[in-house]
């Protein structure tokens, strides 16, 4: 049975897995952005927090993903549903690039510009919203881009705990020793990652010119 054959026969299931995959990545990125960017800003305001926050995100990054999914199984609310666990884990993994790029982007704004803005009497909030965030936007989006691409790859592993997504085919293919089935999961995941990478890269360029 060829890859095309398999895909044609299972196109509805494939579509559903792609949508599940996008759902897992989309929701986790939503939470990661919601959490990561404010944390990144926080770190620029209070450098004391640099070590705990960036260090913490760094440590999370070093936990093997399969192990993290495993750790979450006995967790009270998360353990009940596989997609909750997957989303939680993916969110944690996406935090580091987001926090780090937000921090680097804001700190990378030309010192003279920040000094001028302060000297003109901008409040901290005005400085952040009118000057620092817009000028850091390119770097922040680059962080979102890296985090999303990593998440798309990582989300395939979520299938190991039954959270669905394109990992289903990859694990099924492994069990069946069928390259076609593996590829039917891996190729769409790779294409998805490329698409996101291209789109966010384009956005990054547009917004920073």
């Amino acid at each position: 049975m060829s890859l095309w054959h398999f895909v044609a026969q299972n196109r509805l299931e494939l579509l559903q897995l792609i949508l599940e995959h996008i759902w897992l990545v989309g929701v986790s990125m939503f939470f990661a952005v919601l959490l990561g960017i404010p944390l990144g800003i926080l770190v620029t305001r209070w450098p004391v927090l640099n070590r705990p926050i960036l260090g913490g995100a760094n440590i999370i990054q070093t936990i093997p993903s399969l192990a993290l999914f495993g750790f979450l199984l006995p967790a009270p609310w998360f353990g009940e549903r596989a997609d909750r666990m997957a989303i939680f884990a993916l969110t944690l993994y996406a935090l580091l690039p987001l926090i780090r790029n937000t921090y680097a982007g804001i700190n990378g704004v030309d010192h003279a510009i920040v000094e001028a803005a302060r000297g003109m009497g901008l409040t901290d909030r005005q400085l952040l919203i009118q000057v620092q965030l817009p000028l850091a936007l390119g770097v922040i989006i680059a962080g979102v881009r890296v985090a999303t691409v990593i998440s798309i790859g990582l989300a395939t592993i979520a299938a190991a705990i039954g959270a669905g997504g394109l990992g289903e085919y990859i694990f099924r293919g492994l069990a069946m020793v069928s390259n076609q089935v593996i590829l039917a999961g891996a190729i769409p995941a790779a294409l998805l990652a490329l698409l996101v990478d291209f789109t966010l890269g384009w956005l990054e360029k547009r917004l920073t010119r």
Binding site: A112, I113, V114, A116, A117, G119, M120, G121, L135
Partner: protein, 259 residues
Amino acid sequence: MDSVATDVAIQFRNVAYELSGGRELLHDVNLEIYRGETLVLLGRSGSGKTTTLKLVNRLLSPTSGDVLVNGRSVRDWNVIRLRRMIGYVIQDIGLFPHYTVERNIGLVPRIENWPAHKVHQRVLELLALVGLDSGLASRYPRELSGGQRQRVGVARALGADPPFLLMDEPFGALDPITRAELQKELAALQARLKKTVVFVTHDLHEALLLATRIVLLEEGRIVAIQSPQEFLSSKDPLTSAYVAAFGAGDCWKPERGAS
């Protein structure tokens, strides 16, 4: 207007500024800056000129002593209110690259909640004041020449018509011809606007052209406070060394009818 001449606008009282490591950048600075004058802080690199300037708009706070603006300690001012009545121009200009010229110049009026049409009007007024074509309003800073950018920097500092202006080597990065042009224009502008200007430079020619009084700083101390004429004829060794270094004694001719 004569009584205004002795009205103290900014006062330094025994001001010292020390870095956290203990290195003293300013030592016992006492200085009165009169309303409407252009006070030039002159000195070599590291003499404390910029530090002195930043103490006025509280980008730095004195480690001892006090700086008074309009008779009130900068510590007691709401720092945002204080800064909004003090225009600030720096050498690197610090124009916001993501804003057009119009938004850059109109920033302070806008955050002061002026109505949009008044901000727009003010921007056009200021562009004319600094000798820029109103067609530049929609350009971005990167599309301007160095001289144009610095003019925008001055216009932005004047945005909400602040009574004070702090200028930190604003023309330092310009070519000599553009610099001379802008110096003359600033002198003319100041003759009209009568802001209280504190101007930092290491260029004696610039100081002589612009200053009502020159403050010579050396290693964080005030060495001399003199009018340009007094400065040129001074017998003080540091002052005359500065004059000699620039060969200014011969070439400077008073251009303004200073009395």
